[in-house]
């Protein structure tokens, strides 16, 4: 049975180039980057080279990159530590209803501590309205956190417009770019972004690693308490070999590679929908098919087919897709994103799956997927008739 992996928004496999880099660096650059002898200096040099790669990838300065344990820690730090640092200026934060839990739970944490949070709604395509943002902003607003690309339906938020609007407002602008980094053209200067979160394992890098870009004038303290690593902005010994691997992954994603991927992924979407249309499979896209949605995410609603049944059947065929996040008893929790798009009562909440493509995804995998879905849905229809 050929394994088909269509859940790259959840995580991606390590690329062979990254694996080679990791293997080499773990063997040869094991020193602690904060130490003052040869092995430490060697590690420090690799670390700073990697930092430069990261900075260049988003048009930031090297000193603005802080390595973290990934998207969650970056989001937690950006939101909680800046809110604490800026309470004298106001107690209001703005975000959207469709953020990742790492953002939403940070916001909830602050609400419990007296901060006021506005959750901007989205329309049926997952898009927010700039007018809503305008209405929510006030003199008390100290932080706006809006994701670049939604992880469940792929909606691209108007980051440039938000940055423009906020550049003369006291509020800092944070974006969770975990699903955008590596696919989108990110320019923190052009878009007036103050903080940006990334994760290495979404772009074929190692897990438990990422960085937080923080504009150099921002003052706030480390979330973790300990050593003075990362210019006192993130305590804990840097995982230098993994960071070097992350840099290899980032270097592979230059502008031409990003464009190629976007085109390939968009073609996958059309291939899937054409196949379903040809075989008269009823399916609707949650989100849009145009440039307002990231090419690597495709959320589909199969009316009348429960997420459990479709996802489990696909798994039995060796095909991995996402059915949403599971609670600790393994049940799928109703998606807060689909709820924000379609309302609590919508059947889409219980009848949707998400596909997400990555570097390794092939057209033949897509074909195996569509063939399997067609077979499964026909079998179910035959059983019910």
């Amino acid at each position: 049975m050929e394994e088909v992996y269509l859940d790259n928004a959840a995580t991606t496999p390590i690329s062979s180039a990254v694996l080679a880099e990791l293997t080499d660096r773990y063997q040869h650059v094991f020193g602690n980057a904060s130490t003052l002898y040869g092995l430490g200096r060697a590690a420090n040099q690799v670390l700073e080279q990697a930092r430069h790669t990261m900075a260049t990838s988003i048009h930031a300065d090297d000193e603005e990159i802080v390595f973290t344990s990934g998207g969650t820690e970056s989001d937690n730090t950006a939101i909680i530590k800046t809110a604490e640092a800026r309470q004298a200026l106001g107690n209001h934060l703005i975000t959207t209803a469709v953020e990742h839990e790492a953002v939403l739970k940070s916001m909830a944490y602050l609400e419990e501590r007296g901060f006021r949070v506005t959750y901007l709604p989205v329309d049926e395509t997952g898009q927010l309205s700039l007018a809503d943002l305008e209405n929510a902003l006030d003199d008390e607003t100290i932080l706006v956190s809006i994701m670049s690309v939604n992880n469940e339906v792929g909606t691209r938020m108007p980051i440039h417009e938000i940055g423009e609007r906020l550049k003369n407002h006291q509020a800092w602008f944070h974006t969770d770019a975990v699903q955008a980094y590596g696919l989108e053209d990110i320019d923190v200067k052009r878009d007036h972004i103050d903080m940006l979160s990334t994760s290495a394992h979404k772009i074929n890098g190692p897990k438990l690693l990422g960085f937080l870009y923080r504009q150099k004038d921002l003052q706030f303290s480390s979330y973790l308490l300990g050593g003075d690593q990362e210019d006192k902005r993130r305590a804990g010994t840097e995982n230098v070999p993994a960071i070097a691997g992350f840099a290899t992954a980032v270097a592979a994603l230059d502008a031409s590679e990003r464009t190629q991927r976007a085109e390939r992924f968009q073609a996958f979407k059309l291939q899937i929908l054409q196949q379903f249309k040809k075989h008269q499979i009823e399916v609707k896209v949650n989100g849009t098919l145009d440039q307002h949605t990231s090419p690597h995410i495709l959320s589909l609603w199969f009316q009348g087919i429960s997420t459990y049944v479709l996802q489990n059947n696909l798994d039995l065929e060796g095909i991995a897709v996402s059915g949403g996040s599971a609670c600790t008893a393994g049940n799928l929790a109703p998606s807060h994103v689909l709820t924000a798009l379609f309302g609590k009562q919508s059947p889409r909440l219980e009848e949707s799956i998400r596909l997400s493509f990555g570097q390794a995804t092939t057209s033949s995998e897509i074909e195996i997927f569509t063939t399997a879905v067609i077979k499964i849905i026909r079998r179910l229809a035959a059983r019910r008739s």
Partner: protein, 372 residues
Amino acid sequence: MSDKQRVVVGMSGGVDSSVAAYLLKQQGYEVIGVFMKNWDDTDENGVCTATEDYKDVAHVANQLGIPYYSVNFEKEYRERVFNYFLAEYRRGRTPNPDVLCNTEIKYKAFLEYALDLGADYIAMGHYAQLKRDEQGHNHLLRSTDLNKDQTYFLSQLSTDQLDRILFPVGGMTKPEVREIAHEAQLYVADKKDSMGVCFIGPNNFDNFLSEYLPAQPGKMMTFDGEVKGQHQGLMYYTIGQRRGLGIGGDGHDNQPWFVVGKDLAHNVLYVGKGYENPHLYADYLLASGMSWVAGNTMGQDFHCTAKFRYRQRDVGVTVHVDPDGDRVRVDFDEPARAVTPGQALVLYQGAECLGEATIDAAYQHSKKLQYV
């Protein structure tokens, strides 16, 4: 695709269903383990429990090298089982939700889901056995382990459902099942047996009930009209119950008190003295909703054995089936104690479980006992 037959096993995280999955794997089936979540016990912090049991399922499934999933039937359970359960309590009866849970959830909603996964069979760790007759109809038989036999709870199933069911541990005793679990070094080999209804343990049952039904305290009386105290709400008491009445013996005979009847209209709980209180004994009962596992093979009037509650020895009965086929009158060979409206009447012919009906009323000398 493999040509193995596919079995979806309902895995609770307990030893019985774990051994069931293990045995099926040994027998060469393609086995899929599925954990069912039928009740939302998510607390105010959004923590959903049932977590430990699911973890155990994952452990055992990984040991066996089989895929495992979790499905949610909370909506179905609430609509098809729990609403009935509450309605019965509102009528002052003592329902048995486990019978309905099997009929509607474990062997219906779950079966449908398993068939959607392309299953040839579903399996559970229930203690019961199947026998196929010459016509190919399945019959439900008691487990080898009569202490563990669960046919009482499976008595509403039909032969069509049984066609798709396997009971891998039904022909074993509990100690044998434990031994297999130990030999196979299954993670849950020493896990304690679970107790109580699908959705609530036995310990806080009254608290649970009070969250859903308003308790109306009222008088506790004897049939002679003597008020003996207050009851907390009729739903908390069942016929024949002794504990929790709060009335002691009165000096000369020191006999304990028992619940002997309920008057729902006047909110009165009747109590009587002595385990063998005559008001507790019925010579026949009426039941309705008669369902036969493999059709009625017995005729309109016949003698067989019956249980009118779980964990009770069979008693001899003569059954008269109403021409409508739905209602039955059951005459006891010997007067029967504490026949309780709402409970399942389950009929047996030797080892075979014939079917089930819900008890509506009990009679003594052609007079309806004052149970509801």
